[in-house]
Symmetry: C2
Subunit: 225 residues, 2 copies
C-alpha cells in the first residue's frame, strides 16, 4: 500500500544543507504493523510526514495505493489525507483554546456526518483511550499524557485505513501505553488497518510485527517477528 522509491529529503538552513533522508527505498504492505526506531534526528518524522502526504520528497517517488502522490494537486492531497490517514503527531498539534472533545471531532467537522453522530463517535474515541471525564478540558487543562491521548483519539475518529503514529506513547506510563498498544493491535488484527509507528522504546516496538531501524536518513536494518 506504501511504496517509497529512493526517497531523499534535503533541507536548506542558511548556508547549510541538511540531508534528512538519503535514499529510502521500502514497501509497506496492506495490513502490516511496522515500527520505526532510530536515533534522535535520524529522519523518522521526516519519513512519516512524506508517507502522510504532509510533505513532498526532494527526489524519489512515493506511491500510496499505487498512485504517485507527487502528481496530486493540493486539494486531492488533502482529500486523500482526510479520507485514508489518521496521524498522531510527535508534538500532538492540538488546538490550544479548544476542548478535548472539539479537538477529537475535528476530522469530521466538514464531512457529511451529522453533528450528533460526530459527537457520539468522538466521545467513544476519547473513552477508548481512557479520557472519560476529560472531554471538556481545554488543551492547557490536560496533562501531557492526556494531550497525547487526545491526539490518538482524533487520529482514530475517521476509521482511517492507515494509521501513522509518531511516538504515540512518549508521555505515557507503562499501563496506559499497554492500553494504547492493545487498541492498535486490535485495529490491526481485527480490521486489517495498516499501522506505521515511530517509537524509541523497544518494548513498544515489540508490538509491531516488523521493525526497521533508521540511521542518518537511511534504513539500516529490518527485523521481523
Amino acid at each position: 500500500v506504501i511504496q517509497l522509491d529512493n526517497i531523499t529529503k534535503t533541507y536548506i538552513v542558511g548556508e547549510t544543507e541538511v540531508r534528512a533522508l538519503r535514499g529510502v527505498t521500502y514497501a509497506i504492505k496492506e495490513g502490516e504493523f511496522l515500527a520505526i526506531l532510530g536515533a534522535s534526528g535520524s529522519g523518522k518524522s521526516t519519513m512519516m510526514n512524506i508517507i502522510g502526504c504532509l510533505d513532498k520528497p526532494t527526489s524519489g517517488r512515493y506511491l500510496l495505493d499505487g498512485d504517485d502522490i507527487s502528481k496530486f494537486d493540493k486539494n486531492r492531497l488533502a482529500r486523500t489525507r482526510n479520507k485514508k490517514i489518521g496521524f498522531v503527531f510527535q508534538t500532538f498539534n492540538l488546538l490550544a483554546r479548544t476542548t478535548a472533545l472539539e479537538n477529537t471531532e475535528l476530522p469530521l467537522l466538514y464531512s457529511n456526518v451529522p453533528g450528533k453522530e460526530r459527537t457520539q463517535r468522538a466521545l467513544a474515541s476519547l473513552a477508548a483511550v481512557g479520557l472519560k471525564g476529560r472531554e471538556h478540558h481545554k488543551t492547557n487543562q490536560l496533562s501531557g499524557g492526556e494531550q497525547q491521548r487526545v491526539a490518538i483519539a482524533r487520529a482514530l475518529l475517521n476509521n482511517p485505513s492507515l494509521i501513522l503514529a509518531d511516538e504515540p506513547t512518549g508521555n505515557l506510563d507503562s499501563k496506559t501505553s499497554e492500553e494504547i498498544m492493545a487498541i492498535f493491535t486490535n485495529l490491526n488484527k481485527e480490521k486489517g488497518i495498516t499501522i506505521v509507528m515511530v517509537t524509541h522504546e523497544h518494548d513498544i516496538g515489540a508490538y509491531a510485527n516488523k521493525r526497521i531501524i533508521m540511521k542518518d536518513g537511511q534504513i539500516i536494518k529490518e527485523e521481523t517477528n
Copy 2:
C-alpha cells in the same frame, strides 16, 4: 531544600472539581537525585509546577530553602526561579520562530552576563547535549528529540542549584537518553545539584538514587537505591 506540607491542588473545570494533588507531604534534601513515576494524570507535572514556583497550591505549605513561597510577591518569585531553578518542561515550551541558540540563551538575556559570554555558554550547553550543528535551526526546523534537548540545554544554562526535569527523555532514543542521564548524574555527583525528574520509564528512573510513585494525586510508595 524542598519541603512540601500537605499540599493540595484543585482545579475547577465548568461544574467539576479536579483534585490533582490530594495532600502531598514530602521532603527533598539538597544534593538528592529523585525520580517521580506514576500513571498519566496522577499529578506529577502539577507537583513539579508547584516545586518550580510556577503555580501555588490550593492549600498546604511549600518551603524552598526554608522560605515559605506563598509569602513571596510575583517579582521575588520570578527572581528565585531565574536564580535557583532550571526547568525542563514536558512540552518543551520553546519560542516558535526562534533558533536553538536564542532559545538556549534566554535565561541569561536580562542578566549582567555580557552577550559574548552568554553566547559561548549557550553554544557549550548545546554541544553538551549533542546539538552542535543545530544552533541556528529554528524550533520548527528541529526534530522532536532535538527540541527536547534544546529545552534541556536552556535549563542547564544558568548553573541552577535545582533542576526540575519533566519527562526529559520522552522523545529520545536509548543512546541519546543515556547521554542526557550521564550529564544529570555528573551534575548531581560532581556539583551536588539537586535533581527532581519525572519519568515514565523505569530504566531512566534507575539513574536516580530515590524514586517515588504517585497515584491519584498522592505519593503511594518510595524506593531508595
